[in-house]
Symmetry: C2
Subunit: 192 residues, 2 copies
């Protein structure tokens, strides 16, 4: 149940069994079925989720009721609405399971407790944010001012997992283009 989390921590910060065990005890396991929600807009996001198995995605709803996909997350990654988590303001995000999931949840108090009392944990979180920041930066690089085809090519190169496990219309939304455009681009790319 905790394999990937332990691996994720060990990869970034060498830790003793004791420290790892202490961490473990603060997480709450949870299963989520496809289409179920981890967070719904309007609620305050009170937890971060580490994904042991499955896939989720987060999105906002625009004026016309359409989805705008913000993030995809798979095994070994974290997902949350950090803005709401830290500010305690209502979230504008929905986080929904794309597949049946096994999650490890960490709520606000537990997160604070670990930060204060387990130095390794703070280091782990720092490195996590560091990587997450760089990843977002690269996402912007791979999106901004590019044509729809360039955006999609970039995604295929950098994030093959997404292309393989996620419905096309969600990928389109993630790239900021319409499903129709994406369909046409793929057809065109295939014929070359």
């Amino acid at each position: 149940m905790f394999e990937l989390l332990i691996k994720s921590i060990q990869d970034k910060v060498p830790s003793t069994e004791e420290e790892l065990h202490l961490c473990k005890t603060h997480f709450t396991p949870k299963r989520l079925r496809r289409k179920q929600f981890l967070l719904q807009e309007g609620d305050v996001c009170n937890r971060m989720a580490f994904i042991e198995k499955g896939a989720l995605y987060s999105y906002t709803t625009d004026a016309k009721g359409g989805q705008r996909v913000m993030q995809f997350a798979f095994e070994g990654f974290w997902i949350s609405d950090l803005y709401s988590f830290f500010t305690r303001e209502e979230s504008k995000l929905n986080i929904e399971a794309l597949e049946d999931c096994e999650l490890l949840l960490l709520d606000h108090e537990q997160h604070d407790y670990l930060l204060k009392n387990v130095r390794q944990y703070e280091t782990y979180i720092r490195i996590l944010y560091q990587n997450a920041y760089v990843a977002l930066q690269q996402r912007i690089e791979g999106t901004l001012g590019l044509t729809a085809e360039e955006k999609y090519s970039h995604l295929v190169e950098q994030y093959a997992t997404i292309v393989n496990r996620v419905p096309q219309h969600l990928i389109a939304s993630y790239l900021g283009i319409t499903p129709e455009t994406l369909s046409r681009i793929r057809k065109q790319m295939a014929s070359r």
Copy 2:
């Protein structure tokens, strides 16, 4: 010279005079004139810069030689290419002064030293990344799948400083639109 940096740290992590002094001794002050570079693409980024005064921006160069603006940064903020900084790979970014600047530089070894030896510093950096991550997330929210006018309105609301201190054509690039389009949008918005 160190006022804003001290303020930035104190705001996030209560620290003693001693800790603050220890931090200070690891930074190197540097002045930069308008149009001078802090980093040029092809070089490895070996430092992070805290801005005591002035403004800078970072950008990549695309196939046709055009600029694609990634970030603007003003007094009280940090700028760097974290990807290159951490991976030690060549940077694809240029970081250029928009105005005459006073910077405090921290190179890789000094950063590592502080992380290891000053717990407050690690906490400071963690919170910094946390905020930076949330800010990037919001940038994506304010860009993705929006019309040019919506993107610009969002910028005006959220980042008035940028609109006031940065040339329009760089703002256009930052939003992923052309200067001509931005000019037309502004005209149209003014007449309402």
